[in-house]
Subunit: 315 residues, 2 copies
């Protein structure tokens, strides 16, 4: 009888493939797949659209280990129907995204974006530089998962007061106070910085809209590194134009790449980054820290211990 | 007999002037000065070039409270000759400069400078973005004074390994290890980031020169927020062009404003900011925390307790 297959849909270094084989000696590890092998696939690492139908309909798939944190692009209801376990890569990108967020805050507060523009024009303009102090500011993390917790910990010695929002308002370590998402518009009123790190679900669609922006301080900054469609782009553009809030930094967008005719490109008080906040060095090592732990547990008792996604909830 | 005069060469809010009068009731507080009053000046806050000769030659000056941290623009040998005490504003700018430095590090590591340039061209370029992780990096602070200590503390929760350089290599809290300035070229070899926060003295003139840049890693970043002439500008420009080091961020320059024909403006791997790192909110409050403490002690026993400059040493 053929061994069940662990199908790696992304390249990994030989050292990691060796570890997979050591932990799961009864499995075969494939990076390519023939039609005959399809039926034996039990575990897949990564998820490519072009293999989706084949895997769902013709394999013996039991576990999908996604590489990304967000899983809204996966066929969650199909997984549920077929009793397929799903785990994600949440946490891998946490340090990078946290550093990215702090970078955007300080780049704005210390006039670095403005300085870069002035430098291109060979312009020495001290008087025109906007500056402020991060230390002492109130920052609201909307989404208190891996990234939110990492961000909160990283901000600790920078003197920032970090508050959190999650579905129910349940307390989370590292946050001064956490509130329910129901109270978002009320809570942003007292915040100097609002950071969106939400997954894409029906409940979070366009949750950052004109109502929220209208409740924010005119001096406030908004950062989004969650899903692009958690932000109502047009209403944010209007709010920025009208100085309803002072500055925004977006790494994710409703449409990516951001179309060249988007009005966002021209906004002086917006920093656009091209979905790079999660790019991280040593990605394979960080990913394998999750996958190998899950694999060990899976071969022993068929369950996952890290980052299992609740399929109904979507994260 | 006329009261001795505290001469404020910069504007301060009424609340602070009231506090000065409360602490030093036997003094008169002036923001303007007539020729007749000159002889009665005993204390000055701030130092303007146009008043220099008059104060040195015709006043009864005993104490100069400078507003800046660096005092290399002051007539230190004259102060010494006339037994004039000098204190500086070191520490006022520490949080701002520390935030500025961290901002420049993360702006480089997270591709924000590049993104700003791409945004101006409406260019979505994910593949071309340089990214790296600050956490885990080795950072050398050259100059372990107020700012260096603040920087080290702020970096604590960001996972950076902070080393220090000072004159003698004496240990300083918050640094994993401190080394003598004599060993600078050797020590930079192991560092991912080198931050210059040195005062301008004969000993520090052009201390960051081709010898140091040649010893740095090709992947390393250099930041200077100390005095402009601690850097040999031409040799840094050459080192950046030759990729002897990867990136630099300069806030101070040998000539300010940086001349429009400087070759620095065009360097892709350099961030230029126009001497703004020390700009700080609540400046008056931060300054008065130093001055009022000194004033209280000065009127009681003629000595300073905060930030006294050793005139021979120059800081």
């Amino acid at each position: 009888m053929q061994k069940p297959i662990i199908y790696l849909q992304r390249p990994f270094r030989e050292e990691f493939i060796a570890k997979i084989k050591e932990i799961a000696p009864d499995y075969q590890v494939n990076t390519e797949l023939s039609d005959e092998e399809l039926a034996n696939v039990e575990i897949t690492v990564g998820w490519k659209k072009e293999k989706e139908l084949a895997l769902l309909n013709h394999s013996n798939l039991k576990w999908v280990q996604a590489v990304s944190a967000g899983v809204d692009y996966l066929p969650l209801s199909e997984f549920e129907k077929h009793d397929i376990l799903l785990s994600n890569g949440s946490g891998i990108h946490a340090v990078s995204i946290s550093e990215h967020i702090i970078g955007t805050l300080l780049a704005y507060y210390r006039g670095l974006n403005q300085s870069t523009k002035n430098q291109m024009a060979k312009k020495w303009d001290q008087a025109g530089i906007h500056y402020d102090q991060l230390s002492g500011k109130n920052l609201l993390v909307v989404g208190t998962g891996h990234i939110g917790k990492q961000l909160s910990a990283s901000l600790e010695s920078l003197g920032v007061n970090v508050y959190g929002i999650n579905t129910t308002g349940r307390p989370v370590d590292g946050f001064i106070e956490t509130y329910s998402i129901k109270n978002l518009s009320k809570i942003v009123e007292g915040m100097d910085i609002v950071v969106g790190i939400l997954p894409g679900t029906e409940a979070t669609y366009h949750i950052f809209n004109s109502d929220i922006f209208n409740h924010m301080k005119a001096s406030a900054m908004f950062v989004n590194v969650g899903r692009g469609d958690t932000v109502h782009t047009k209403e944010l553009a209007t709010a920025l134009k009208d100085q309803q809030l002072a500055f925004a930094a977006l790494d994710v967008f409703e449409e990516e790449p951001l179309p060249v005719d988007s009005q966002l490109w021209d906004l002086e008080n917006l920093l656009i980054t091209p979905h790079i906040s999660g790019m991280t060095v040593d990605f394979q090592l960080k990913f394998m820290n999750i996958f190998l732990k899950n694999l060990k547990n899976y071969v022993e008792d068929g369950e996952l211990v890290e980052n299992q996604v609740r399929l109904k909830r979507g994260y």
